[in-house]
Symmetry: none
């Protein structure tokens, strides 16, 4: 499905969110980034404990990524409403704007503004990708979702943030587990690595006279994989371009992306440093890690340069939130909890990364079929969605009770 942020279909989803949550006894506040906060009163005043996620999707996205976290939050509100349950403090559901970064090219931009990590004007001025000229602000105005309340954690305080989300990876399914108890979000750094050699003719240039940028890049890609594997980290190349691009010309120019991830900032830094050292040696023609096995030495060498594109340090979620999820899981799974749940680190970024900078936060994962996401075939079984929604509601209610007991 396709529901790009602040499109006409996103407006329809937002209208539905507002009318549905209002019918369940909530007051809906819209802030200056279009974030929607549906809050249900408690016995006492105070910042609400919320379930939050997003309703926007990738251009060819799935029906679960983000959407499950919001709809499960609404299901929580319905359960409270239909059973006349009054929490001690307010609870609610948040729909964060443009989490995907697919239409306006900063992901999690509106939780980032709320957390004070991204400037409002910068976010408002973001232009839509492609050939259009709309900005976030112009589209917020156009669809009637430019709220008057400032988008900030001070103007709209929250007590805690719980986010139910599909795993977007294969681990829970592969291990036949139902709930991922998320401990944090891994750190990642993105680089563009540029290798420069010399174009030459494939037929007339012996191996001993080549500076083959693609051969060097191939060794670097394999090395980065080994370096990450040795540290329990991830390293991946998703983009590779070369020039000039002809079957009978050895490429003198290769640029490739390098994405390094680990739950620990230090590990990302170590893998980066390992690769920086090794890539320089590989470019110079040295036999790093026996990758040059059976190679003929060349009198020519390549150079390599790195450009850092993004750095997102590791996020550690709040122990007091994680323990609520753990208790919720035990209440549902009993003595099968260890078999059916797993402490996990999120590989991808989410709005919870930003909320965790201001309020206690954690996430709950449910299985993704084949680990597929950002794709229309994305799928999570209805019974797994239901389990996730149960854990979400219980976690929110447990957190509210702990606040009532003065424990958090």
């Amino acid at each position: 499905m396709s529901r790009l942020s602040l499109s006409d279909t996103d407006k329809q989803a937002r209208d539905w969110f507002a009318s549905t949550t209002e019918s369940l006894g909530c007051t809906v506040t819209v802030d200056s980034m279009g974030n929607q906060f549906a809050i249900r009163p408690g016995l006492k005043d105070g910042a609400p404990t919320v379930a939050g996620s997003h309703l926007d999707t990738q251009p060819t996205g799935g029906r679960y990524d983000g959407i499950l976290g919001v709809t499960a939050g609404i299901e929580m509100l319905r359960t409270l409403h239909e059973n006349d349950i009054i929490t001690t403090f307010p609870v609610g559901v948040v729909n964060w704007t443009n989490e995907e970064g697919a239409r306006f090219p900063i992901s999690m931009v509106s939780s980032g503004v709320w957390a004070g990590e991204i400037a409002l004007n910068h976010a408002h001025d973001l232009k839509e990708v492609g050939s259009g000229t709309a900005t976030m602000k112009s589209e917020l105005q156009r669809i009637g979702y430019l709220g008057e309340v400032p988008c900030s954690h001070e103007a709209i305080p929250l007590a805690a943030h719980f986010e139910l989300h599909i795993e977007q990876g294969p681990i829970l399914e592969a291990e036949a587990r139902k709930i991922g108890i998320v401990q944090g979000v891994q750190a990642y750094k993105w680089f563009t690595v540029s290798v420069r050699g010399a174009d030459c003719h494939t037929g007339t240039t012996s191996f001993s006279h080549r500076a083959d940028a693609l051969l060097a890049a191939s060794k670097m890609i394999i090395y980065s994989h080994r370096a990450a594997a040795r540290k329990g980290a991830l390293a991946s190349t998703g983009i590779l371009t070369l020039k000039p691009g002809s079957t009978n010309t050895v490429p003198g120019t290769v640029d490739f992306s390098l994405d390094i991830r680990s739950p620990e900032n230090d590990i990302v830094a170590q893998v980066e440093q390992d690769c920086r050292t090794a890539f320089a040696s590989i470019a110079a023609g040295h036999n790093i890690d026996d990758l040059n096995k059976d190679f003929i030495p060349s009198s020519k060498s390549c150079t390599v340069d790195w450009k850092q594109d993004t750095y997102s340090p590791a996020t550690k979620f709040a122990p007091e939130c994680i323990s609520c999820v753990e208790e919720a899981a035990v209440s549902i799974f009993g003595d099968k909890t260890d078999a059916l749940t797993k402490p996990m680190t999120s590989g991808a970024g989410h709005d919870s990364v930003y909320t965790s900078k201001r309020v206690p936060t954690t996430m709950i994962f449910v299985p993704s079929r084949d680990g597929v996401s950002h794709n229309p075939v994305e799928f999570t079984k209805p019974e797994d969605c239901a389990l996730g929604a149960q854990v979400l509601m219980q976690s929110v209610l447990r957190y509210d009770r702990r606040r009532a007991e003065g424990k958090v």
Copy 2:
């Protein structure tokens, strides 16, 4: 420089070729592949003895590759014209279309059609590489070079074909020689290798759940280099494309070119077979040649498919043409001929490979600085170009005289 075949700049060069040779007393025929035959009459009718090469270049090519052979041929025409020399039979110059195969991905395609080795329709239907939709035929029509004369050795017979070309390798320069007397051309095969894995999120997919097509392709590229080095052959990858092409998505689709060369057909076949076996194992995830050192085994694997794009067996040139070149060299170098010339095998394919299938053919090499070609820094000294042009003209005139004497 960049003069891709059938581009606007190629049209300019073609227009210049036609007007220049016409001003030197030639009649220019354009065939259905856009090949230009500039023919100067002789005393008698008959098939012309020609100097032939090409005016198109690689995307970032040099100013000598192909171009020297055509411009030296025009210089021969100018010398004959200005000195009122009448040959016994016609002589001429040929500009072959798309020799490089850089824009339309079969090299020497138009001499191949002329020789009856490539079907006209297949050549006409070749699509330009990259994202464009133009075909050879549509571009021939667009620039006005779709000739009405059939492209064939029967419709446009030649008596012999001499091609002056830069060496594109380092040997003549390294040995301080001036003329390479080319005996033949090494064998080569071109393939497109397609690796298919599965797109997945770089942050959420562990190494043990990936089918990373780029990682597999990197191993294949390194393996092909090793396999060729072990046999004294060459293997090179000049094109690599991947999908979907996003920093945080592991590519599920990679296609790359593989160019295998050796003076011996058997060696090319052996390297190909070695790579076919190894690539299949690499795709399946096996640890071929210890390339998987420190890898984490994956439960998923890739597939690999090969498409053969070109096969050019080893070519042996005509002794009666080679002896004309030898005699031309002696007439210029005298008793220094042995020191300043060298019998050589061409590492690259040339239009002469195809002409040699139908008419006596040979080639003349001149030195390339640093052996560099397919690069803007490609350079041959003016005096070396002049020596090559002298040998070319003398070879053509000697061949014409031998025909007049009934010796060939």
